[in-house]
């Protein structure tokens, strides 16, 4: 049984995730009260510990911690000094706002930017076909240059 480390002093559950910590020996620190614990886990079972090790430095911080008796108040990964950062963030270039592009990853034009030229149709709706040369001449020009440079591929 491993909770993984349930700090009885402040009733905080500290998770070492991911699960390869099932087989782990070392010291970690409670995210809430900072108590350092030594544990030795074998196949997910607490073989030794948790034993308090006051004054010692932890080997690793928990990844995440929560307090089940307090409506699951929690420390998210990467809270400074309390939990370690989560390395698998989706990608460092996620901006959280529209990321305009004019070409797909294989180099062909795609309407990934705004504003587009206003519709030539009626009722505010757009015509059927994106005639790149006519509607987006600058993109068309750039596309021709990309073709010359060999930057357009099938995949």
């Amino acid at each position: 049984m491993c909770d993984i480390i349930w700090c009885r002093k402040c009733n905080t559950v500290n998770y070492l995730d991911p699960y390869y910590f099932w087989n782990w020996e070392g010291k970690t620190k409670c995210a809430e009260c900072g108590t350092v614990y030594y544990i030795h886990m074998i196949q997910g079972f607490m073989y030794r510990g948790p034993e308090e090790r006051p004054g010692e430095e932890p080997d690793i911080l928990p990844l995440y911690a929560d307090k089940p008796y307090e409506g699951y108040a929690r420390y998210m990964p990467g809270t400074e000094g309390r939990t370690r950062p989560y390395q698998c963030t989706p990608r460092d270039i996620y901006l959280g706002k529209p990321d305009p592009v004019k070409f797909s990853i294989r180099g062909k034009p795609v309407r990934g930017w705004a504003p587009q030229p206003p519709s030539t149709g009626v009722l505010g709706s757009y015509g059927w076909k994106w005639d790149i040369e006519k509607l987006s001449p600058d993109v068309w020009q750039e596309y021709q240059e990309k073709i010359k440079r060999g930057e357009v591929s099938d995949w």
Binding site: C2, C88, T89, R111, G124
Partner: protein
Amino acid sequence: MEAVKREVCLEDLPGPKSQGELEEMKVPYEEYCRKLFAPGREFEKPESLKGIRWLSCTMYIFTPHSVANLAELGAEVIKIEVPRMGEPMRHTSPFNEVYLYPMHDSRPMTGTGFGYMNANPNKYNITLDYHRPEAQEVFYRLVKISDGLTECYRPGTFDRWKQSYRYVQEINPRFIYVWGGGFGYGPKAFGASYDILGQAHAGLASTTGFHEDFGGHPAKHSNWVIDWYSGTQITVAILAALNWRRKTGLGTMIEFSQVQAATRCLGYGVPLYHRFGIVRQRWGNWDTQLCVHGIILCGKSDYPDEKNPQLKYDARYVMVSAFQDEDFKELCAVINRKDLFDKYHTHKQRLAPEAQMEIYKALEEWAADKTRSEVAKTLSDAGILAMPVMNDKEVYECEHYRQRGTIRWLEDPTFGDVLVQGGYSCGLMSETPRRVKWIWRTLGADNVKIYHDLLGYPMSQLQEWYEKGII
């Protein structure tokens, strides 16, 4: 007696002249399939649902996907959205940043998010505000000339607007009406519907992820799998209803609760409770019925120098299956742990939780100094099923998918160069293959086509409706 002279000698007919020749002339299966399914030549063949017209009063993924299936198979689908605004899924994009433009003239800086992808291909797009009295006649006229409708509003909403099955049936008795939503009639009738609700309420999330003892929590799938699944289940019901109508001439009402549909995925879970009073526990990446049959972690990434953490850190998992005695014996030999086979030489022994913990630990220890590819190759060479847990980049680069046309680039008429996989992942059909004509249309792009060309309203009328915000 004189033999009758045959007009045509068998020898003169085209085709094989002997058993040997016949064998030679048979096209090998691989070549046969490549010719039969020919990726990229779908548009040369007919469409199975051509002639069916369907109204799609849907939002998000679940109900739109039920209709997308029909559209990919050739039905003429008319999607009705809120004027100027569009349905919410247009504004739901991964990390709020991946959009294609334009959406509509009235909102020049607003695009349609990639979340809309795969649930709305091949649909014609019109706008209509059902609340307005002028809209009712238009709606009824569409019902008269259509085969069916799918809607996802809260139970009874369309009934309140006099658009539900009991009303439209009187106009068109052959009409097939689908309501798709969260709970359906019953004590929780007014609950809304989301994929995560389906996963949670049906009990699926309770058995996904590792047990809390191992640091796990109930986990939902990152993607909205129950939305995609439920949508497909609706399509199955629609196709059955179409066949019933072909035989009887009568329509059907399909009432589809998403939380109910998701319980079908529970497998043996609920019957297990009925039999033993046991509540099934989570067992993560291992299996409760087969061992070894799980996903293990390797020590080294296949892409140590990549910037993207999903490649740098996460490309370390391999699925391994070796539950048959002889496979397990081989696996133990490969990882140099023959003692494990001596200890757990029957499948029944291996299946015990304690055994699984020991076996998977040994596998991960063996894999600790290897990359994912090394592990997969070593095990495959030994005749054991092992496959890297692929990510999106690897799915895109997978030659198997490329040759079968599962993943392909589409020159979308409105938006240009886009990658699609939805329409080509649902099983190949030799005579009437699915196809993606366009990923989606701009908001109200087909108002003129439907209201003017199909229903015959004059352009001046359309202009008036547009100015009043009815369309």
